[in-house]
Symmetry: C2
Subunit: 196 residues, 2 copies
Amino acid sequence: MSYKIITISRQFGSGGRTIGKEVAEKLGVPCYDQELIAMMADESGFSEEQVKELDEKEVRKKLITTRAERALNSSYMQSALWIAQEKVIQELAEKGPCVIVGRCADRILKDREDTLRVFIHADQDKRAERIVEVYGERDEAPLHRVREKDKLRENYYERYTRDQWGDARNFHIALDSGELGIEFCVELLEKLYKAE
Amino acid sequence: MSYKIITISRQFGSGGRTIGKEVAEKLGVPCYDQELIAMMADESGFSEEQVKELDEKEVRKKLITTRAERALNSSYMQSALWIAQEKVIQELAEKGPCVIVGRCADRILKDREDTLRVFIHADQDKRAERIVEVYGERDEAPLHRVREKDKLRENYYERYTRDQWGDARNFHIALDSGELGIEFCVELLEKLYKAE
């Protein structure tokens, strides 16, 4: 074990992003999360707003549209964006040590031996509590919001990777942050990264 | 986090049993693995041989028989054995601190807050190597044997728990022992168990 990159896949509200940022800080390496949107926009030629829209809305549409409508939606723009995403993530990995949160980076970098693949999850109730506490999300029932985001992320992951979202076998380590605590997760990943 | 029991679910050849035994030794608590067969026999009234046969063969049959044959097989004996298994595992958990390997103990004890639920896995090639090295299994192609056992375990788990085998969200921690090493997994679980 000797890692250069950590990818963090995470359930909404599990604290995966916080864990990524804190681990990166402790290791003195950059953490890429929201920054990836701008990079993908740059790479693909879409605006940041378009990237965000395509990202969520197209996957959301998948849930409600007919097969014919899906076929129309799923063509050029999405493929272009996915290709841009792969390129951005592969280039970041080449550039130097870093932490990458989300965006199927675990699958995009799955053949790199220098990459520690992490999954962070927690039970629905704890995540619902957390999104209210940390993000101040109050516009809709938090448990409903958690379930909706879970579904969106699952669809997105499975659509692009053709793999099962949340399968432990796709990760070197999977942690229940609600049970183990965010601090424990951060320390453990720091230790793993530094281990020879 | 404060645990009394550790359940270890594991892929065949991943070293999950070794990890369970070593953690139990370090913690000075019993580890139940093969011993469960005798206890289940005792509880159910079947012989140990019958338990072993029912265990594997019935699940194996599921792969090859018709629906009508399955219906005939799946009745009394299997249900009786599953009930005995639940009872044995619940009683062990009541009795005192321990490590329990396999037998869907994670699902049987899922409502106990004093139980740390662990999944151990590794990639197929590493597991195939390990079964030759450690168990000396040479009677058939090791990779074929690994795949067959994976299928059996998956069927068994999903049949009785109605849950997805290997889903990270069912465990507090899931570890790739081929990547992280058995020693690292043992130390980590010991630390987690002892943490307040």
